[in-house]
Symmetry: C5
Subunit: 156 residues, 5 copies
């Protein structure tokens, strides 16, 4: 039985974790889910580390929705650096699922993007622990989570 | 009995720690507070670490008020990276409460913002150690500390 | 028998690892290759670390293809910092092979660049473990991987 | 008997350490001073660490004077990150005293600033090891080192 | 007998290590030199660490020549952060000798700058291990490596 950690924020404007949990349960079995929520994006790294060390998670998904201001971009950057450090300290993967508010042109698209990116990364998460060969098969294919895949470059 | 650490600066222009201490005492019981003050925002990380390691704090609130200049933004960024590192080294949360001078349009608003953000994060701090389920309930709700909550995205 | 690790992404739009594996096999013998693939560029660092620690690789090649947006540049930066940390934690080299989408003026050139940089770095990788003296001989020669070498400065 | 470490650079254009040593000796007693000098600002972190580990210093003051160019700002940023890391590795404070050349409008003002900031931080340094309560009393007072204090915000 | 490590790149367009080795041999005796070369500037940190840990070097000089593009600046920044980390992990100094291509107005000046900076830092390197008091004597003197010293600020 594998254990998947989920950590998200009260700052985000969409419950991405809910989408991801829904999708991952549709994708397969053989895992339990542990969830915690923190105020903001910079609180994610230690929360993820605790999920690995105290809850013995095998992988963690970390959800955040940075705003449009420069300070929001800086916070996301700091959080990402922290999430990478956690991975190096634990030898476990964290699937970072950040949706920037300015990636979408309106609220409706933002909802679409947040939901779909969460679901597609939930499948990545599942494959990373149960079917890593699926990822190798897709190496260099230009996959994207949320909007359409851009695809592999045409070779001629 | 839990122990809450408070660290702030002589650089800040408002005693945010005082607001937070007042609010957290109104919010609940079952904790002691330990406070220390450092000159500037970059002195916060090691001060927070010492509160965890020498004072055995369970959580720390770190207060700072970066100025408007690029160098102030850089200092805040460096401090935030240090605060994240401290969390990873101690497996404890630090609630970072930074109020940027240019977030407010005048001194009066800055006072309002500094006071209210400190109080709202004091409640977050309390919930993180005593009532973590409150945070999960608010996941993805677009909460903000200081100004109004932006709220969750409308789903259609 | 040496062991060369290969890690790449499903985000990249060209299978650079394939080019590198092809080239390194033409360059010499005495090594085995282990490959894994992750979703994005920020997933590379821990994947590389696991190749060193669990697969006992002697060197790793890490492939990524950052997009044109500022957020892509930030992701590449974060990944590079992580890759450096992995090297310091393991005392092993990682050959980072990143091709930025905006380095090429069209898709055709991007394919050329991705293929050739991967191949030239595959030779670097081989030399670093088997023939380090070749690198010393080329010190300060203005070598580039992908586009033409710029060459050493004329001394008068 | 406490031990105060001093580290500065040959790059700086003013002997800030001299000002600080003069001031700290006027401020109190009960300490010894150990000094070392390095070429540039990026050499400060390990020099500070060695003062803690080999000289058993209780606190270190680190002096630097970054130039006006972007590369100088980057060097200062890298040094600051290193100085924070040293603090976290040693659980000791480093008082960073950086004076940016472009903070002053001419050389005369730069001399004034470098001297006064060094002296005011020397007092901070003294208080941090001997009188930490003085800092708590000044929390949120808008203190600055060098130019005039901006002071606390008026509350109404 | 001290041991001085030298690490440089095939990316650089001038053999700065050669200049430094020539100069350091003119400066004094009592040391051995160990050299290694890597492809690019981001490969320097772990190479330096290996020189300390496997070759038992007492100090390392790290040479790089970043190009003019933003991506080159980012690489140099990442490398510098790594070099600082290596110093903190080993308690040894690394003299970073980076010459940015855009520091010089043409190739001829770039050759001059690369040669002279390498030589002047070679002397710094020698002094740091054999004559540290020389550095203290020059504290705050506005020394530069390569172009002319800017000198200390006039005090009146």
């Amino acid at each position: 039985m594998k254990k998947i950690g989920i950590v998200d924020t009260t700052f985000a404007r969409y419950d991405m974790a809910k989408s991801a949990i829904d999708e991952i349960k549709k994708t397969g079995t053989g895992f339990k889910i542990v969830r915690c929520t923190v105020p903001g994006i910079k609180d994610l790294p230690v929360a993820a580390k605790k999920l690995f060390e105290f809850e013995k998670c095998d992988i963690v998904m970390a959800f955040g929705m940075p705003g449009k201001e420069p300070v929001d971009k800086t916070c996301a950057h700091e959080s990402s650096l922290g999430l990478i450090q956690v991975q190096l300290l634990t030898n476990k993967h964290i699937i970072e699922v950040f949706v920037h508010e300015d990636e979408a042109k309106n609220d409706k698209e933002l909802v679409f993007l947040a939901d779909r990116r969460s679901r597609e990364h939930a499948v990545n998460c599942y494959n990373m622990i149960f079917k890593p060969a699926v990822l190798i098969k897709n190496a260099g294919k230009g996959l994207r989570q949320g909007f359409e895949d851009v695809g592999a470059l045409k070779e001629e």
